[in-house]
């Protein structure tokens, strides 16, 4: 069993008691509740602990001694009702204040307690005893208090009474008591002025406003995330287009080189060594091109078992120069071997965090190739241009304004 009393109730009882020039007594009002704590540990599945908590909310002092009992300690129920009136059902205990006496229930207190337990119908009625001890020279006065539950055995009668915030509060926060404020004046004032702070549901308006701001911010963040994702996907697509075009350029160069070689051969019958590097790409580039079009699984391009014939690739070259989609079958361009992790591989992150991934290091190398493609770019469908225009790395300025679209290439 645990018990608590609010600081103001405790101080009120002390005030009444200390100002009386004799022993003083009264009743404690409050409620008793049961708390069940279920704990799970390694040793057992679960254990439930039931705790009875007594909360003292208020007190009802008696005007004088023997106000509800006689010399023999016999309780008079009529007088009891006169004192308690409608608060009888809220009685959870009673208290007594006596100076310079032991912290032990007296003979009459035990007699009265037994009767009160029966009359009030509270099996675990508590008794709070205040003792005021003064030293002989009145230099030190101690207020001692003990809470008893006399219904229990002799060695289990004392209950710890806690008073929230009575103690060292410098290192801990001020605890709000769970004891409700039953003051009528307080309720009246709150009712009168509460509308300025509380809405119809009893929730503080400020809280609701703050929550709305929070929700709005959350929505904005979600929207920006969506935009970033889209932007990244577009960028990815554009990257693929750029790679395709690069391949086309390389292929054209190669074609031109071969034509020149044929012309030279025709003019000069001496055999000329054929560059071997030109025979390797057809087999591997197709596969690498396939790999480019599936950005989520960038893998090292390897030679396939049955690579297509070079002539077939050449015949398909002109038809498939214009990148209509990103499907793997449209990859009629001569493949170009690329190492894993090259800047040409788009990032698998759907948010498009691969902001650093751009055309990157190949820019300088292939800048001359882009010059050749100028006429080619003009022939690209309008959609591609739009993609290019939108495909800039998404960046968030400090103000979070995603609508700012400065030119950045």
């Amino acid at each position: 069993m645990a018990a608590s009393i609010s600081g103001y109730t405790f101080s009120s009882v002390c005030y009444h008691s200390a100002n009386s020039n004799s022993d003083h007594e009264g009743f404690l009002l409050g409620e008793v509740r049961q708390e069940e704590t279920i704990s799970i540990s390694d040793t057992q599945i679960s254990s439930a602990e039931l705790l009875q908590v007594v909360e003292v909310h208020n007190h009802e002092p008696c005007a004088q001694l023997f106000s509800f009992y006689n010399y023999a300690g016999l309780v008079n129920e009529e007088n009891l009702n006169k004192i308690l009136k409608e608060r009888r059902k809220n009685v959870i205990g009673w208290y007594r204040f006596r100076r310079n006496t032991q912290q032990q229930m007296s003979f009459r207190e035990q007699i009265i307690h037994k009767q009160l337990t029966q009359l009030l119908g509270v099996p675990d009625l508590v008794f709070l005893l205040f003792s005021f001890i003064s030293t002989a020279n009145n230099s030190t006065h101690a207020l001692e208090y003990v809470l008893f539950r006399p219904s229990r055995s002799r060695y289990n009668q004392r209950v710890t009474l806690s008073i929230p915030n009575l103690g060292n509060t410098s290192q801990q926060e001020y605890k709000v008591s769970s004891v409700p404020n039953t003051s009528l004046n307080y309720a009246k004032v709150i009712k009168e002025h509460g509308a300025e702070f509380f809405d119809k549901d009893g929730v503080m308006k400020d809280i609701r406003t703050i929550f709305q701001v929070y929700s709005a911010l959350q929505d904005k963040v979600q929207a920006v995330c969506g935009e970033v994702e889209q932007s990244e996907r577009v960028k990815e697509k554009v990257q693929q287009e750029v790679n395709k075009l690069k391949q086309q350029i390389a292929l054209r160069k190669q074609k031109n080189a071969e034509e020149e070689r044929r012309i030279l051969e025709a003019q000069n019958p001496e055999p000329l060594p054929t560059p071997e590097e030109n025979t390797e790409p057809p087999e591997t580039s197709l596969l690498s091109l396939v790999a480019f079009n599936t950005p989520s699984t960038p893998e090292r391009p390897g030679p396939s078992a049955n690579p297509p014939a070079y002539a077939d690739l050449l015949s398909l070259q002109d038809n498939s120069l214009l990148p209509s989609s990103s499907s793997p079958t449209s990859a009629a361009l001569l493949p170009r071997p690329q190492a894993v992790g090259s800047p040409g591989h788009p990032s698998p992150n759907p948010m498009g965090l691969g902001l650093g991934l751009s055309v990157g290091s190949n820019e300088d190398e292939d800048s001359s190739e882009y010059e050749n493609l100028v006429s080619e770019v003009a022939q690209l469908p309008p959609v591609t241009i739009n993609v290019l225009a939108q495909g800039r790395p998404a960046s968030l300025s400090p103000d979070g304004d995603a609508s700012a679209r400065g030119s950045q290439t």
């Binding site: 200390a18 020039n21 004799s22 022993d23 004088q64 001694l65 023997f66 010399y71 023999a72 300690g73 016999l74 006596r98 100076r99 310079n100 006496t101 032991q102 032990q104 229930m105 007296s106 003979f107 009459r108 207190e109 035990q110 007699i111 003064s134 009145n138 006065h141 002799r154």
Partner: protein
């Protein structure tokens, strides 16, 4: 504070409560051990510290009971002196008397100075019943109690204190305090101590301590009023037998009673015997009597003359006369010793029989005096 005299304590009590405390402190004798008065200590007040004194209204009352001292807190309210007090029964937290059996509480009358004392006596009675109830924890000790209770001589004057030696562990023990039904009224007044100093009742209490529930360690003790102890020859003159192993109180107590009674009878008889002896010597020696103890009849001085030679004879009668033989001391009226004292000679052994009456002893004393006187005088001549 704990050793303050009753008058000092009374002066600190609130004036409205003082009459009640007076009868407790001055006349308060409860229980069997009426030689010890009730005592109050630890006077405190229930008023604020600003209240001018004297305003003490709560104190500790020390009550002798069954060889122990009960310390009960009594709580009044000086601001409401007409209200009855409350009690805290010290270590006996489980003692809860029935209020309806305390008439002086139910009809408390603050105007009656004896009310508090009577209430305390009623509480002691309830406390006694409570202790007897606790004896049920040991069937052996309960038997002791029940057997004593059946005997009207002992059952009415019995105090019991039962319980464990300490609250948690310890053997169950009990103490019995019995008032022995011995008649001391015939003891000559002179034998008793100065009654002005000890005006209490003459009483003999037998205190028996059972240190375990099976009565294997039993220690009896006899307590006598100071006057009775003096009359019987002091604490060393009386020894009670040890408690027999396997014995019980209903057999042992009458034994002690008889022993004490015999002793008292012996002392009374001795007194009468001495008086008879002195009367006989007065009759036989008439004018030769110089002086005698007319109260206790323990001393007699005679002046004997033989051929103009005077000798003083002092006769000292012991407490347990006639069992113990009187001592004769012959003293010269002429001769001094080197230390300046009158020359004397003591004679303890001479023909004597305790069965002789006083007259017979006086008759036989004459030839004895003659024989001894001759030898005494011869001795003086030689010196």
């Amino acid at each position: 504070m704990n050793n303050m005299s009753p008058e000092v304590a009374l002066n600190r009590i609130s004036p409205e409560l003082r009459p009640l405390l007076c009868s407790v402190v001055r006349n308060g004798r409860v229980g069997l051990d009426s030689t010890n008065c009730l005592r109050i200590t630890d006077l405190k007040t229930g008023c604020t510290s600003l209240t001018p004194g004297p305003c003490c209204d709560r104190f500790k009352l020390h009550i002798p009971y069954a060889g122990e001292t009960l310390k009960w807190d009594i709580i009044f309210n000086a601001q409401d002196p007409e209200l009855p007090p409350d009690f805290i029964f010290g270590e006996d937290a489980e003692f809860l008397p029935e209020p309806s059996e305390l008439p002086h509480l139910v009809q408390w009358d603050a105007e009656d100075p004896e009310c508090l004392l009577q209430l305390v006596k009623e509480l002691i009675q309830q406390y006694h019943q409570y202790q007897c109830h606790r004896l049920r924890e040991s069937s052996r000790l309960l038997f002791e109690y029940d057997s004593l209770l059946e005997d009207p001589d002992y059952g009415r004057s019995l105090e019991i204190y039962a319980g464990h030696k300490n609250s948690w562990t310890g053997e169950f023990s009990a103490r019995f305090l019995l008032k022995l039904p011995v008649d001391f009224s015939n003891i000559p007044v002179y034998l008793l101590k100065d009654t002005a100093l000890d005006p209490g009742e003459d009483v003999a209490l037998l205190f028996v301590s059972f240190e375990d529930a099976e009565a294997t360690q039993v220690f009896p003790k006899l307590y006598l009023s100071p006057s009775i102890e003096h009359a019987l020859g002091g604490s060393s003159a009386l020894h009670i037998p040890a408690f027999p192993s396997g014995g019980c109180l209903i057999d042992y107590v009458p034994q002690v009673c008889q022993l004490l009674t015999n002793k008292v009878q012996y002392v009374i008889q001795g007194y009468h015997k001495r008086r008879e002896y002195i009367a006989a010597f007065l009759s036989h020696f008439g004018m030769g009597v110089v002086e005698y103890d007319a109260e206790g009849f323990t001393k007699l001085t005679l002046l004997l003359m033989w051929k103009d030679f005077c000798v003083l004879v002092h006769v000292d009668l012991p407490l347990y006369f006639p069992r113990d033989q009187p001592t004769l001391t012959f003293q010269s009226v002429y001769h001094f010793t080197s230390s300046g004292q009158l020359y004397s000679q003591v004679q303890k052994s001479y023909p004597y029989s305790p069965r002789w009456d006083g007259n017979e002893m006086a008759k036989r004393a004459k030839p004895q005096f003659s024989a001894t006187r001759q030898a005494f005088c011869s001795g003086l001549v030689i010196k």
